[in-house]
Amino acid sequence: MAFRSYARGTAALALVMAAGTAQAEALKIGLVETLSGPQASTGLLYRDAVLYGISKINEAGGFGGAPIEVLEYDNQGGPVGAADRVRAAIADGADIIIQGSSSAVAGQITEDVRKNNLRNAGDEVLYINLGAEAMELTGSKCHFYHFRMSPNAAIRVNTVLDGMKEAGALGTNVYAINQNYSWGIDVQDNTVAAASALGFEVVEETLHEVNKIQDFAPYVARIQQSGADTVITGNWSNDLLLLMKAASGAGLDARFGTAFLDQPGNIGNAGAVAEGHFVSTPFNAEVNAEASSAFMEDYKSKTGHYPSYVEPAAVFGIQLLGEALAQVEPTEDGVDATALALALEQATVETPMGVVSMRAGDHQASLPMVVQEVTRDAVYKADGTEFGFSPVKVISAQDAEQPLQDSCEMKRPG
């Protein structure tokens, strides 16, 4: 319980420092995350990152002189539970809702927040989306009170292609294999769209069932027949592992460009099969090594593990929120969400990877991406194996940025 007692300690300290300066009610943040059931592992990572990030803000004095309070809610893994918990969080006085681990849940929360704000004008709440990457969240479903702090399909695909080209690993024949639902289709569309600019040809596109296929050998045979030298896939979990294993088993000579190779357990499970494959994420500890390793060690000292997978981007997102909070005045019951949203659009934060900011047009974070390759030389090893992620190319926030989606029609206040 060191982390929790630590958080409590800092809260108490901040309270002592703040005593007498302000009487306003503490700002409450509702963390509506998947904390139980089969999807809990990612939800718990977000929880660690949020608690870490908020404890940092509280260390620096909290908000309005009082420590920020994090209320935890378990969304039970689905939109129905999330709808219930968002209402509970708002009823308990939360001004900000934070969630990240599922696009299905995010789709529900962003709409719930939008409707809540329509019905309760003057008493709005903010939704900080730490990791739901579905394109429509900053497209047709975008609205003024939703902010996405993670990359999306377009950013992931374009940066990984860019980095692979730089490393000389991007061939001329690219095979796109993805899961047949909105995420996989987004990845496929972005791969096809990038073809002419980067000078490759998409030899074949495949969409397959999600998490149902046990044997990818037939798919790998098609990849072999197509003569592809590069495979781009947005697959995650088993669909990625089994695909890579089948490819290695069949002796397929192609590099993989992926979106979620760094999910905990993947490298441990795939082992040497993953070597030489690529992934593009918002953080790598070998970039800007001094600042990065300080962050790594500090995170580990408070949560017990190095930040991995979704955690660094989530921490950066909370830091950006902290910057915005520093620019607004506390109100009677916490914070004015509209003022905070306007401040978030202006906020920037210096992370070990570079400057992170928020794009006002669709509230998609603009963040640097690191393309990395699985090698044996990496300083930080993954899952206790001899492999880790070595950076290949750092892509600045400006270069990683992707055009606004036409479907986003954001109604701004006033």
Binding site: A91, K115, H305
Partner: protein
């Protein structure tokens, strides 16, 4: 279950007074309990009354939910379909899809019937992510409850009353249905389908009809859920929704009229309360199901109805005494078990493992006391309470059995 008109009126009055009795968060839970209760009642008609175990009822729930959300967007809560009448869309689509699915699945009985329902539901579940226009993709289809009939439907209270009205109406309709000749034939279908056929009834048509009626009420429940959360997502078609309704109905008691409803409501409430208290609430839910199935195969309500059919006042008093004794003993064992599970959960958590690396084996705070995992106390306390509780249950059961034998 024989519910006197007085107790029925009391329950309805309590439900009507709910918004003034409980907080907003619990009112939310109450809406979901009502929806779960109606869904379980729909399932209970098919499984309990007609003896057809469906493993795919999420399909009809989901069809109703999506139909309602699309109707909400199409009509904007005006004209032919004002907001309060939207569940009718769920009922209509549920009925039609139930007729089609029922036609195929009721051609077989028993395990084969269950397999067909499961297959049809999985078919829809697998199709849904591919049809973005219909099912909205990963982020789902959302909608907005529009004002109608002088209500804004912006507040939870109004949604609660809307849900309550539809649930009570539907349960009343289900009760009346069970009194019709068709309802009685459903019983015949369960008890002896062959004899029914020899008597000249078309059992396939009968099964299809009952299936469709059950799907219709599942559709109403789905539509109410769409109204409540103002959205529908294809995760509603997942198989765990189908299993949840089976579990809920059996825990409540699938063969007594209100059993499924009470099972659904109780288990939804259980999830609402425990999921914020402990991360292993799904484990407790599973344990409850296993225990109920092992020791109360007729379900909670089934068991109560069965026990309280004893007519005399003295008999009822003695029964209450026995039940209190048993509950007390079970509670002792439960506290021990909960202590052990929670202790283990904390011991195995990431946070604790991080501390072990840093500071050895620190104490764990549980039930506002500090316990060292290296000492015998926490293990002795948990296991001891469990052992004492189980021993008490066994002794009480033996005594009561001996008394019964002596009286017989």
């Amino acid at each position: 279950m024989k519910l006197g008109p007085i107790s029925l009126a009391v329950v309805v009055c309590l439900l009507l007074a709910m918004p003034w009795l409980v907080s907003g968060s619990f009112l939310n839970a109450a809406i979901q309990m009502l929806i779960a209760a109606l869904f379980a009642m729909a399932f209970g008609l098919l499984c309990g009354r007609a003896g057809m175990l469906s493993f795919g009822h999420a399909a009809y729930f989901g069809v109703g939910a999506f139909a309602a959300v699309h109707a909400m967007n199409a009509f904007g809560g005006e004209g032919l379909l004002p907001t309060p009448l939207l569940p009718l869309v769920g009922a209509g689509t549920g009925l039609v899809s139930g007729l089609v699915a029922g036609y195929f699945s009721t051609k077989r009985t028993g395990v084969y019937f269950a397999m067909i329902t499961l297959a049809l539901a999985e078919l829809l579940h697998a199709l849904a992510p591919h049809m973005k226009a219909m099912f909205g993709g990963e982020a789902g289809v959302s909608s907005f409850r529009m004002p109608a009939w002088g209500f804004s439907f912006g507040s939870i209270t109004e949604v609660y009353f809307l849900t309550l009205a539809w649930t009570l109406l539907s349960i009343a309709a289900l009760y009346l249905f069970s009194k019709t000749p068709l309802g009685s034939l459903a019983l015949g279908l369960r008890e002896n389908a062959h004899r029914l056929r020899f008597l000249g009834y078309n059992t396939h048509a009968l099964g299809t009809l009952i299936f469709a009626v059950s799907a219709m009420f599942a559709g109403i429940a789905g539509a109410l859920q769409s109204l409540n959360i103002e959205a529908a997502n294809y995760v509603v078609l997942e198989s765990h929704i189908s299993t949840a309704v089976v579990l809920n109905s059996f825990i409540g008691g699938v063969r007594v009229f209100l059993g499924p409803a009470i099972g659904g409501a109780v288990m939804t409430f259980f999830g609402h309360v425990t999921s914020d208290l402990t991360r292993v609430w799904l484990l407790y839910q599973g344990i409850i199901f296993v225990l109920v199935m092992m020791f109360m195969p007729r379900g909670i309500v089934g068991e109560i109805v069965d026990r309280f059919s004893a007519p005399t006042r003295a008999g009822i008093l003695r029964l209450l005494g026995d039940i209190c004794l048993r509950l007390g003993a079970v509670a002792v064992a439960a506290i021990g078990a909960i202590f052990l599970i929670e202790f283990l959960q904390r011991l195995l958590s990431n946070e604790y493992r991080a501390n072990v690396a840093a500071a050895g084996w620190p104490d764990i705070t549980l039930f506002s006391m500090d316990w060292s995992p290296l000492s015998i106390q926490p293990w002795g306390f948990g296991l001891g309470l469990m052992a004492v509780g189980i021993a008490l249950v066994v002794t009480i059961n033996r005594r009561l059995a001996a008394r019964k034998e002596a009286e017989a």
